[in-house]
Structures are given as C-alpha cells and as structure tokens.
Symmetry: C2
Subunit: 355 residues, 2 copies
Amino acid sequence: MSLDLSADVASLTEQLVNISSVSHDEQQIADAVEAALLSLPHLTVTRRGHTVVARTDLGLGERVVIAGHLDTVPLNANLPARLEEGILHGLGSCDMKGGDAVMLKLARDVTEPLRDLTFIFYEAEEVDSVHNGLRKLTVSDPDLVEADFAILMEPSNAAIEAGCQGTMRVDVRTTGERSHSARSWKGVNAIHLAGPVLARLSDYVAREPEIDGLTYHEGLNATGIRGGVAGNVIPDECVVEVNFRFAPDRSEDDAEAFVRDFFEGYDVTVTDMAAGALPGLDRPAAKAFVDAVGGEPQPKFGWTDVAQFTKLGIPAVNFGPGDPMFAHKQDEHVPIEHIERCERILKDWLTGESA
Amino acid sequence: MSLDLSADVASLTEQLVNISSVSHDEQQIADAVEAALLSLPHLTVTRRGHTVVARTDLGLGERVVIAGHLDTVPLNANLPARLEEGILHGLGSCDMKGGDAVMLKLARDVTEPLRDLTFIFYEAEEVDSVHNGLRKLTVSDPDLVEADFAILMEPSNAAIEAGCQGTMRVDVRTTGERSHSARSWKGVNAIHLAGPVLARLSDYVAREPEIDGLTYHEGLNATGIRGGVAGNVIPDECVVEVNFRFAPDRSEDDAEAFVRDFFEGYDVTVTDMAAGALPGLDRPAAKAFVDAVGGEPQPKFGWTDVAQFTKLGIPAVNFGPGDPMFAHKQDEHVPIEHIERCERILKDWLTGESA
C-alpha cells in the first residue's frame, strides 16, 4: 500500500482511512507514511517503532512541531471510507487521519517555511499512555521533539482548542467467595457486589469549571467490566474499569483523591494516568498562532498530547479537522471543507503567504 | 499416564485427581480410563469422544447403570492432590473423581453381579449441556444407556440424594450508545445501565419448596458479566450472564417465565436449559436401593444427570462420596471414608454379599 502525496488532501485522507490502523496494529500505515516521506528530499526522516518523524533543517531561528497519531479505536463496521456530499465517513476519518493528511500535504508542499518544521506521525495514542508513541519519543529522542511551539492536529472543528482534560483509569474491584451455583447461598457473589459501584457511577454529576474563560466538563465512566469463573460457579471477583476525565485545574493527585473518595469502601487500583494541560493561551507563541487563525478558542475536553508538550515546556494547541463529538463513534466522519481549511490556514501561516 | 486398578480406592482417587481434566480437556483422563477398562476381559468397552462405556453382558434379567463425569471446573490453584488426615484435597476430588474411582474398582472387582452392569464415564458435564457426554450418548447410542435403574455417583455425602434442581442460563443485555469517553455525555453507558440488573439480583429472595418431603432451594445468580470496547469509549453493550437453579416442581417453561418476569424491561436471551427431576422415590427400583443403603434420602440441589435418566424413564438417584457444598470451591476435598463406604455399599448390593 503506497500513498500518493500529489493527490488532493481529501483523497489523501481517504487513502489513509482505508489503511486500517487499530492501536497496536500500525505497521502498515507507518510503512506507507515513512515511504512517502522518504521520497521528499528536503526532509530528514527518522523511524522509531511505528512512529515516523520528518524534519527540515534549514537553520531557521524557530521550530514548529506538527503532530498527529496514526492509530484508531477498534473497528465498528465503519470501513472502508465513504465520501458523500462533501463528508468523508469511516473509522479514523475524524480522529485523526484528516489531520494526518494535512500534515503529509504540508510536508510535501512547504519546502521553504518561515520556521523549521518537525512532523511527528505516531503510534498508540488510543490506548494506555505507556504505549504512546509521542511519549516514547520524548524519552528515546528528546531532541526530535524540541520546538518553540507545537500544533497537535486532533479534531477540533478546524478551530483552536486550548488545553486539555486529564485522564486516569482505575480498576474498582469487588471480592466475594466462590461456590457452586447450585448452592449459591454458600458463596458470596462478587458481581452482585458491583451493583452499588454502577449505581454510584449512574448518580455521578459532572463538574464543569471555567478556566481562563473556557468551560471544561468532567466525566466519570465505566469503560469495561469483567467477572465470572464458569457458568456454574458463584464468582469471587468482579472488576469495573473506570475512566475519569478531569479538568486541567486538577493535578494528578487531586484527581486520584477524588476518585478514591468517590469509591470509598471499594478496592481501587490506578492503572493509567495522564495529566491535563491548562489552556496556556497567555503564552506568546500560542497567542501569535491564535491571532493568525482568528476566531474564538474553545476548551479541549479530550485528553490530547498537548499535555506532553506542556510538560516539556512547549506551548501547544489542538487544531485539526473534524468534530470531536464524532470521534470514536460508529458514524465517525469529517467534512472535507475542514480538512481543506486546516491545510490552507497552516500553509499560509508556515509560509507567510496568503493563497 | 496409566491407572493402577489394583490400588485401593483412595489411591485410585488420588491418581484420577492428578490427571487434570478441566471441561473440554478430557483426552488424557479418558485415555487412561479406557486403557484400564480394556484390561478387564469381562467387560465390553465402547468409546465415543471422551466418553467411555464398559458393560457386562451376562444375560441377567436386569441392568444397572452407574455413571460419573470425568471433567472438572477450571483450576483454582488446587492441584496436585494432597492427602491429609483421611481427607483428600484437590480439584475434582469431591466432584467427582471419588465416585469415578469407586466405579473403576467395581468394574474390576464385581465380575459376577446380580444384575448386568453398565459403567459410563463421560465428558463435559460442567459446561453447557449441549456438550454433555451422557446427553450425546443417549442420542448416538441409546442402547448403551438403557437400564432398569441408574446410580449417578455425584457427591452426596455417601448417602442417597433424590431428584435434582433444573438449571437455565440467560444473557441479560443492556444497550447504550458509544461515544468518546472524553465527551461521555454524548453517549449512553450500557455498563451503568446494568446496575439495576445487579440490584435486582442482590434483592432476590430464594423460594424453598417442599416436594415429596424434601426441601429444595432455588438460586438466581450472575455467573459472568462483560462489557467494554476500549478504555476511552463509552460502551454500548453490557451482558450479565445469569444462572437460575430451579426446584423440580417447575417445568422449563415455568422457569423461563419466572426469569423473564424477574428481568422485565430488559433484553433476555435463554442460552442453556436443563430440566430438573422430581425425587421419584416412589418407584420400585429406587425404593429397593434406598432400603439397601439405609438412612434418610436428601434433596439434590445441584442439577445432575439424574434428569437425563428421568427423561428416558429410568429411575435414578445420586449416590456418591463427598460433600457437595465443597464442589467447585477452592478447598474442594473428599473424606476417604466416604469413598470406601460407597465402594462397600455398592459392592454388597451388586453382589448380594456382605463384606
């Protein structure tokens, strides 16, 4: 499977969507992206796992990172891509192959940028952060990530979304006692004990704090549940997997304390944690980009890797095609107009020209 | 792995326990049992899958079936066997390799029975009844199952337990709508919707009807739960696997109606059903055996294959070593004294002699 970078950005998005790339299965798409970038003589290409980096080295005073992940959530009967009335449907179309296509077009076309450019196409963003390709890169090759400003092309309606919410995962575990289900009264059913855990989750009321003029929206949800030994055994363990999305005014410690308090009386194990990022729109580099794009910045609800850049002290925003409301949904889709708008705005800003 | 039938019944039980035979993995134990039986010239041996049948053909007026399953529930850190102060511990010791060992000893030693004998060692009793080796045999070789009376060596404290409760399995399904967990309020969480299902199960009060002087005890339990798409997706489906154990005064239709009514408002799918068996102690063949054994018959809570024999019109009882309360428990065990008592009582009854 090879990519045709001379195609328009909409066709290129469709090509990317049609290379299935569920997390942990990104070899094929990374190979295609790497091969396409290697054909561009003005870029230096580095590969780490299924993460591909392409950089200009023009010795300009500033450097901008533009980043996008290559993986998607699992298939949900939503491939191959389907173009209909200016909307491209299909797994990954919104989150975030529209953004990846813009990056590939910029990588090909912007040969004389005002600032040096680093394009990072990375693996495993949709799974536990320990697998995250960008996080790994900051450890293995910190110099490849260095920049004065970062743009993450996560879906944000082709407008700037600032900051991001944090995300943590916990296992909430109930413990009972096994017995034969024909004599269930001799055991203690751990799945039944999980009922009140689910009831608490149903009763949860989300906090919606305002930060730097942007209104965030937290969320606490079971994303998985498992329990059971055999069809005739009273189960002695049930685990509810919970995801807490928290506003960027909470630290990781605050978030953990909230969740432990919420599930008081239950065995809670933290399995994953990624801090959020404050909007940071007061930083000069961010301000300049906001002015260039125009419009009103919005809060970012989803955790994105802007938090990784924030942690490195690099100002970062989300700016990408697609409505994030449709990310991870069966009918995921992206308006072609969004993709084209992002391509145009970034090209203008990176070259200092107006189309 | 070969079995030594000249060993005493306790050692033979230990040999059987140490051949792991979790359901669907009975090849090794069936091979060993088959080889041991083939060494006995007074028996005709037939194998079907991992079910082994051995019969005398002496042309006597009556025939007795003695049956036991070879499989166990999953391992729970309870192998190998361990003998301690007259108690044999280990997976399958109680349910029901003590009974299987008695059968093997009788098969070897009772060469001149009063009634013709059929020993049935069968596979896959601890899983969905569609896999049950005895059920399969009644279809493939009904003549091998024919008899005037059947003794099932399920654990029953070396006393007679009569009848058995029925068992049915259902999936109770909740349906929501997927969304990204960062925008959970845009989806509907199917796992949260399962909370009230678990609450109903917790509130369930068991019926304990008296039938033919025996008191049964029903049970309704989640034996499994599953739900979840990915760690950052609001799940659109959750399935609670429920097992209903019902007293033998309910028909399969009654049982299904009860469960559907209990989970009214939810999507209920029946996945497995096996009717119970009324005690049937008024039948002459059963009565004669009860008199020979002595003591007070008890109700059988667990579903056992006496129901299969009942369906074929063959009077049947449960009579085997081990306390069924410990079946499927981590500390499963069987008193050696039970195993020896069952061997002695059956030998006396089958030969008409007293030791």
